[in-house]
Amino acid sequence: MSTNNIIDPANLVYAKPELMNDADMHYCPGCSHGVVHKLVAEVIDEMGLREKTIGIAPVGCAVFAYNYLDIDWQEAAHGRAPALATAVKRLNPDRMVFTYQGDGDLAAIGTAETIHAANRGENIVIIFINNAIYGMTGGQMAPTTLLNMKTSTTPNGRDVYENGYPLKITDLLAQLQGVCLATRQSVHTAAAVKKAKKMIRKAFENSMENKGTSIVEIVSTCSSGWKMTPAQANDWMVENMFEAYPIGDLKNI
């Protein structure tokens, strides 16, 4: 098949969402961020929310999320995205407001902001990338790091007596009355990507219907931080992460 045949619209099976621009992504090969960015872009496009959406970027690997999706963005201080989103949504109730946060941002330094925004039932969406490690700063322990998992600050593995337990923050959030959707997904297979997109769309719909806070956790890979190839990272995630962080809805009302 020649290149011309491939780009024939009749053969089109996949297209980059219009909302995503052509900026070179800084994410590592095998990182889940790129896929999740694409899903968020697709949902915004399909729901016709491009001119109504304001994204809140975190501190961490996704700090530059604003470089890739052509919507209005605010870049938050570390952990404070839900506080920004609270004000943006309350001051602009007809807009779509989402945060995009990693595990350190959401479940360590930003725990208070996350829990209280969710407990107030702010009509926002929280996209939560859980790869059990601090990617941007070079692979330190995250609140969600698994027991015995090696990181640069737990070189002998995470130890309960030293570091406590992996924080299942989405389980905690699911208990709050302000939360209408708490779901845990992944993007390591085509089927998983499809399901994750469905739940991101549900979250965005909840927000526009003022149903409360929606949290979509994506159990993710960090092949650089985990020091694995992308394929190894996917396998390791399935074998180890899914036990601590089982895929599925924790709350969906």
């Binding site: 001119e51 304001i54 604003y66 963005w73 605010q74 870049e75 404070r80 004000a87 807009r95 902001e113």
Partner: protein, 360 residues
């Protein structure tokens, strides 16, 4: 509704002034001695009238970041706190300055350090004027000396913050916050529409119109050469503010042998000290910096070579005195008198200090 006259506390006055200014949002956390600001806003229910959002946040950290979120949308948003709470906000204030966002912050100072006391103090001068957070930045700082100025500086603070895309602070203390005085409240202004905000703040993140590029509110720039250019732009803006927006009040300085320099509530005390001194035959004048940044360097410098000495009177261990000495450039003797830990000095106490410091 036209202008109306009321008797109220300084804290209450801030709340009423914010509603009447057409502020879009207030985000705060209770702390003594300024809790009446949020209490008054909640009692007034402005969300039913002007549409102003009022929210009690889970912490000062959340409050200041809510301010960042609202300010990033070009909305007129504010928070208030007292000294320990302001310390907690310093990270967010640095981000607001770095992202060049307009907003109004109110600090009703109490004594520190640490949990300190709930009594009045002026010990956050350094924190506010010299930059309490990280990085090179400045905050437009207004120091009211009356309940009426609490009202007036809400509008002035918002206006200046939007003019320069920079946070503005009302730096006051428990005396002005808690005391009751007669005030004239301004007429109600309606809140700006989104179209007006887009016009005034083309950078605002209100959702990207189809024909425009996305807006991004951020203080991040990893390229050091670009970050240096950003900083140079900030510094040029600060220089412009220093040239354009200096406020002060001077009284009886023309024939003065000694000048008292004091801001906020201490300027009220010093007004009386000045009267007592003149009754006793000592020619005393008063300079009251109204903007603490930009500092009224020129007027202090002007009188430096004409007087025998200056006394800064502050409810702290000597903070503004550094700016006074920089302005004076050694041309006259500058001394400090202050009470610490929440004690408000009396006018005669200040007079005794003046006599003692200058051997009068």
């Amino acid at each position: 509704m036209s202008e109306e006259i009321f008797l109220m506390k300084g804290n209450e006055a801030i709340a009423h002034a914010a509603i009447r200014y057409g502020a879009d949002g207030y985000f705060g956390y209770p702390i003594t001695p300024q809790s009446e600001i949020m209490e008054t806003l909640m009692a007034e229910t402005p969300w039913k009238t002007t549409g102003m959002v009022v929210l009690q946040a889970e912490s000062e950290t959340a409050s200041i970041n809510m301010v960042y979120g609202g300010a990033g949308c070009g909305k007129a948003v504010m928070t208030s706190s007292s000294s320990p709470g302001m310390s907690l906000m310093q990270e967010g204030i640095s981000y607001l300055a770095g992202a060049e966002l307009p907003c109004l912050l109110v600090n009703v100072m109490r004594g520190g350090p640490g949990l300190g006391t709930i009594q009045p103090s002026q010990a956050d001068y350094f924190q506010t004027v010299k930059g309490g957070g990280h990085g090179d930045y400045k905050l437009i700082t207004l120091a009211p000396a009356s309940v009426q100025e609490m009202v007036d500086f809400v509008a002035l603070g918002f206006d200046m913050s939007f003019k320069y895309n920079n946070p503005a602070v009302i730096l006051t203390d428990g005396v002005i916050g808690q005391m009751m005085e007669k005030v004239t409240l301004p007429e109600f202004k309606r809140r700006r529409t989104d179209d007006e905000i887009r016009e005034q703040c083309p950078w605002a993140t209100l959702g990207k119109p189809a024909n425009k590029k996305p807006n991004v509110i951020t203080s991040l720039e990893l390229d050091p050469y670009k970050m240096e250019i950003n900083n140079e732009k900030f510094q040029a803006k600060y220089k412009q503010i220093e040239e354009e927006f200096v406020l002060f009040e001077e009284k009886n300085c023309e024939d003065a042998e000694y000048i008292l320099v004091a801001f906020g509530s201490m300027a009220r005390i010093c007004q009386k000290t000045m009267e007592l001194a003149r009754e006793a035959g000592i020619k005393v004048g008063l300079i009251r910096p109204i903007t603490l940044w930009p500092f009224p360097t020129e007027v202090i410098s002007k009188y430096a070579s004409k007087v025998a000495g200056m006394l800064t009177v502050e409810m702290n261990a000597g903070q503004m005195i550094e700016d006074v000495r920089l302005a004076v450039e050694g041309k006259t003797k500058v001394e400090h008198f202050g009470r610490l830990g929440g004690i408000v000095p009396t006018p005669s106490e200040v007079l005794v200090a003046l006599k003692s410091k200058f051997d009068l």
